[in-house]
């Protein structure tokens, strides 16, 4: 249809030839030259009309009009670049922020597990573990006997699959010569087949592989890409896991990175049964690994519901088997003990994510939603103002024959241009913002915008388009052409300046702005408090890394660490070195009751007796820079052969040994099997995270306890902390070539990870608050400036009649102050509601923090005054004569 075989000139030529032929024939019939020409022309009729019909022929008439409208729209927008840029930028930021937050929300809260039929997949949960067991999570993990029993029952809840990581963080692997770390999991043989995860390369596991504990590995697509550059030759090669050689047999489908929230598993093994590959990389407990130890509830279980079975039926069927298996190896339940109850939850949407990110993300979504509202209102007002200012242009065009429909369509096309450009900008902005968001939030799974996100954005754009379409409707319905030519600028624009819709919109924007500013302010003060929290130690100059050596006996392990510390201490630039079982600032902790002088200490009714304990090496507190208040630090001279010694913190002394000198008292485990003498009291300091409250703590000496496993090395160095890592790595590898440094980083960075989510949340909230203020300021400025310009004639009249400059300025300022007051009055109560909702995310600041409210109100008022100042000054400088002459 767009292909034109023949040019318009060719057609015109054809007609000209016709006219000449006709004239010649007429001449031959006896007419004079001039008469012949005239008659030929007259007989032909309207040449232009024919040419126009030729032009229009074979074109999509509507499309042609549309393109002309588009060209006209671009021209008209180019004439007011300020308006166009503001509108497009506003839309881009408003919609982009929404798309970005929605992308994250979609990825972590809405997306399903990338497995076949995720609706029928359930996680197994228990109400509580039986007494005397240790767990990873008291509701989510189970013992091997429970797994074994559930797997063998053939009810509606089958098959049951288990999975358990090889480490709390990453595990040492080696492919070729260089040791490194990766996230690995042991899983049931049915794992891939029952989940319905395909293996584009190689094979998955079988039940026989699980029974044989076959040393084979399936790697994730992501790991295959990242580590092996998608080399197909990797199948059949050996991957050493904690020094154990395993054969790579398959690559899992793209996008599958395990069934837990926020994890990105790099490789999977069938459930193994050897000391080097114990669950969570733990050392053997009394020589037992996770399979042999019924007291260690460490396996996570997932199962498929049989088709047609309800969750209640499935639970009822499996309950008996579960409760019997729960006490395998534990003896019978004590009188009055509440037996554990099996339960299941949907696995579809990563329930773990919801607990972690749910509420802050929903809060952010609400915030960006408000920002979007402000942005849309801004653009609508800008459009209204612009169209009102063009009223006369429209009426002139109507008078010249443009239909009302034509005008309306023209305005719609202009809106369309704005929405399209804004949408493109929004998408680019969102792509960038999403990537940053993912990095900050440390969400390892993919956040790439998918179809849902695209649909969401298109939906928002459609909404915007529709809204902007309604704005010009008023123009289309407004009076006819005669009116425009008659009325003057002053009178025709008079009521436009007093538009009630405009006033209400500005007031509402102020309201939203107050809410956003209060929310952002509270979170930013939280951030400040978190960042400035004293840690109770000299954290600068500290570097930490993990090692996970293999050894067959406890003395061998102790010797390994002693040797390692000795070698690290003599490196140039190293001040002191120590080891610790739980890394500081990593959320890990060991919590138990402890005996004091042979019995559990008395506590006031209802208060906790829990002591947080850790296992550390010599010179630990010296290395950290934690002051020892009385007594001494651990030393190299504290060995397995010397008397057992322990150290406590102030809080422990205050709580359990009040008004006594704690030194010399005996403390120990709650089963009474291990005791030690207090030789030191140290100042309270942060342990698990930055935002924790002081809690009683006790430290064991690693060389004296009957257990030794992976440890973290803390080093205090001169100069840049990370610069020591290459030489430290060399030391470690000389001792064992299979050992990588696990998660090496500065201690400061490690502590910062414990507030990274709050920091991200606060920064984002602050950013959106700021964005809202900028949007409101531009909106307010635009609206006020427009209203003043509409009232130029009125102001001229007032000044001609004797109004003073100050009076005019006050008239304008008063207007915006009234709007501000209205916004504040509505905004503060709303902000209080928001503050209450935010309470759980705040640290060191109350939801009713007066300073935050005052700052928000002051900021809004400042913006309003600043935005009014320019139009007010302009109004005051109106020359009465010129204003009146605008007629």
């Amino acid at each position: 249809m767009f292909r034109r075989k023949r040019s318009a000139t060719d057609f015109a030529e054809d007609i000209r030839a016709h006219l000449e032929l006709e004239a010649e024939e007429l001449r031959r019939e006896g007419l004079s030259e001039e008469e012949a020409r005239w008659k030929a022309r007259r007989e032909f009729g309207n040449v232009c009309a024919a040419e126009e019909r030729f032009y229009l022929k074979g074109r999509w008439g509507g499309l042609d009009k549309f393109f002309r409208g588009l060209r006209f729209g671009f021209r008209s927008l180019r004439q007011s670049p300020g308006f166009a840029a503001t509108a497009i930028l506003t839309l881009g930021l408003g919609i982009g922020a929404n798309t970005a937050v929605f992308s994250v929300m979609n990825a972590v809260l809405l997306k399903s597990l990338p497995v076949a039929d995720p609706d029928r997949l359930v996680y197994l949960r228990t109400s509580n573990p039986p007494r005397g067991t240790g767990t990873i999570d008291s509701n989510e993990t189970f013992s091997y006997p429970v797994y074994d029993a559930l797997r063998k029952q053939s009810g509606t809840l089958s098959p049951v699959m288990a999975y358990v990581p090889l480490s709390g963080s990453k595990v040492a692997v080696r492919y070729g010569a260089e040791p490194e770390e990766a996230e690995g999991e042991m899983v049931s043989g049915t794992f891939f087949s029952v989940l319905g995860v395909s293996l584009p390369r190689g094979r998955g596991f079988s039940q026989q592989d699980e029974a044989d504990h076959a040393p084979i590995t399936v790697i994730s697509y992501n790991y295959w890409t990242r580590r092996f550059a998608r080399d197909p030759g990797v199948l059949g090669k050996t991957l050493f896991v904690n020094g154990v050689g395993t054969t790579i047999v398959g690559v899992a489908a793209e996008g599958f990175e395990g069934v837990e929230a926020g994890m990105s598993t790099d490789f999977w093994l069938p459930l193994q049964n050897r000391p080097e590959l114990n669950a969570y990389g733990n050392p053997l407990d009394d020589g037992k690994n996770y399979i042999a130890d019924p007291k260690w509830w460490c396996l996570r279980l997932i199962a498929r519901l049989a088709p047609g079975a309800t969750r209640a039926q499935a639970v009822a069927q499996a309950q008996g088997v579960f409760q019997a298996a729960a006490y395998v190896g534990l003896g019978s339940p004590m009188a009055g003990e509440k037996p554990p109850v099996l339960n299941i939850v949907d696995a579809k949407n990563f329930p773990g994510y919801d607990a972690q990110y749910g509420s802050p993300l929903r809060m952010l979504m609400a915030m960006v939603g408000l920002v979007l509202l402000i942005a849309l209102a801004n653009v609508v007002m800008l459009l209204l103002a612009r169209n009102a200012a063009r009223q006369r242009e429209f009426r002139v065009r109507q008078a010249l024959g443009a239909g009302r429909g034509e005008l309306f369509r023209q305005l719609l096309i202009e809106s369309l241009i704005l929405v399209t450009a804004g949408g493109a900008l929004a998408w680019a902005f969102a792509e960038m913002a999403t990537r940053l968001l993912g990095q900050w939030a440390e969400i390892e799974s993919s956040l790439a915008p998918d179809r849902t996100v695209l649909l969401f954005t298109l939906g928002v754009l459609a909404l915007a388009g529709l809204l902007f379409g309604l704005a010009p409707l008023r123009v289309a319905l407004a009076g006819g052409a005669e009116l425009a030519l008659k009325t003057s600028a002053a009178t025709s624009n008079a009521d436009a300046g007093k538009s009630r819709v405009g006033r209400i919109t500005v007031a509402l924007q102020m309201t939203l702005c107050v809410v956003l500013l209060v929310g952002g302010g509270l979170l930013i003060r939280t951030l400040r408090n978190l960042e400035n929290t004293p840690l109770g130690m000299k954290v600068d100059g500290l570097v930490v890394f993990g090692v996970k050596p293999n050894f067959t006996s406890i003395p061998e392990g102790i010797a390994f660490y002693q040797n390692l510390m000795n070698q690290l201490r003599i490196l140039p630039g190293v001040e002191s070195v120590s080891v610790t079982e739980e890394r500081l600032g990593s959320w890990w902790s060991d919590n138990n009751d402890m005996m004091v002088d042979g019995r559990l200490p008395d506590v006031a009714n209802g208060t906790s007796r829990t002591v947080r304990s850790n296992v550390v090496g010599p010179e630990f507190f010296n290395t950290l820079g934690v002051p020892v208040l009385s007594g001494r630090d651990f030393a190299d001279s504290d060995t397995a052969a010397s008397p057992h010694v322990g150290i406590i913190n102030e809080e422990f002394a205050k709580r359990f040994l009040p008004n006594r000198n704690p030194l010399g008292h005996t403390i120990g485990t709650d089963d009474g099997r291990y005791t030690m003498t207090i030789v030191g009291v140290v100042k309270d300091h942060k342990y698990r995270s930055i935002d924790e409250e002081p809690i009683p703590m006790a430290w064991y000496m690693y060389a004296q306890i009957p257990m030794v496993g992976p440890m973290h090395v803390e080093m205090r160095v001169h100069g840049a902390p990370l610069a020591i890592l290459p030489s430290a790595r060399k030391v470690v590898q000389e001792m064992d070539p299979n050992l990588p440094l696990i998660k090496p980083m500065t201690q400061r960075a490690q502590f910062d990870t414990t507030i990274s989510r709050q920091v991200l949340f606060a920064r984002l909230a602050g950013f959106f608050g700021l964005l809202a203020v900028v949007l409101v300021a531009t909106g307010l400025y635009g609206t006020l400036a427009y209203r003043v310009s509409m009232r130029t004639a009125e102001i001229g009249v007032r000044m001609a009649l004797g109004a003073r400059r100050g009076q005019v300025v006050w008239m304008i300022l008063k207007d915006s102050l009234v709007l501000t007051a209205a916004g504040v009055v509505m905004g503060v109560p709303l902000a209080m509601l928001v503050g209450r909702a935010l309470a759980s995310s705040l640290y060191g600041v109350k939801p009713m923090d007066a300073a935050s409210y005052l700052a928000a109100v002051a900021a809004v008022a400042t913006v309003a005054l600043a935005a009014s100042a320019v139009p007010a000054a302009r109004a005051a400088s109106v020359d009465p004569m010129r204003a009146l002459r605008t007629e």
């Binding site: 249809m1 075989k5 023949r6 057609f11 030529e13 054809d14 007609i15 030839a17 016709h18 000449e20 032929l21 006709e22 010649e24 024939e25 007989e43 032909f44 009729g45 309207n46 040449v47 009309a49 024919a50 019909r53 030729f54 229009l56 022929k57 074979g58 074109r59 999509w60 008439g61 509507g62 499309l63």
Partner: protein, 123 residues
């Protein structure tokens, strides 16, 4: 979205008529636009006064349909003119449209003559 062309087709009878007349005229041999107009006028004993503008649009339309072909040539009195000739497809169309037209005029005739026939008994 309709095309301009379809708008013309919506008053099919008139244009169908013009198309048929053009096809019939060109069946006698290639001719330029002015010649076609003259021929139609002459053969209809000056009953049909062809609107020349419409004629050229119609010629273009038939060309687009592939019923006609056109090329620039020189007229009998040495003037440059665009000559139109019937294609094989155009010839088929002429046969088809002629019979359509015959059926149409016969049907019209039957209806228009009916009132004068012997069936007028109702009154």
């Amino acid at each position: 979205m309709t095309t301009q062309e379809n708008q013309f087709d919506s008053i099919a009878l008139l244009h169908g008529t013009l198309d048929l007349l053009i096809l019939k005229t060109l069946a006698l041999g290639p001719c330029h636009g002015q010649g076609v107009a003259r021929a139609i006028q002459r053969r209809s004993e000056e009953v049909f006064l062809v609107d020349h503008g419409s004629l050229y649009v119609a010629l273009q339309r038939l060309e687009d349909k592939g019923w006609l072909r056109a090329e620039w040539g020189v007229s009998e009195n040495n003037r440059r003119a665009r000559f139109y000739r019937l294609t094989a497809k155009g010839r088929e169309q002429l046969v088809e449209k002629t019979s359509d037209w015959r059926r149409l005029t016969r049907a019209m005739g039957l209806i228009l003559d009916a009132g004068n026939g012997p069936q007028g008994e109702e009154a």
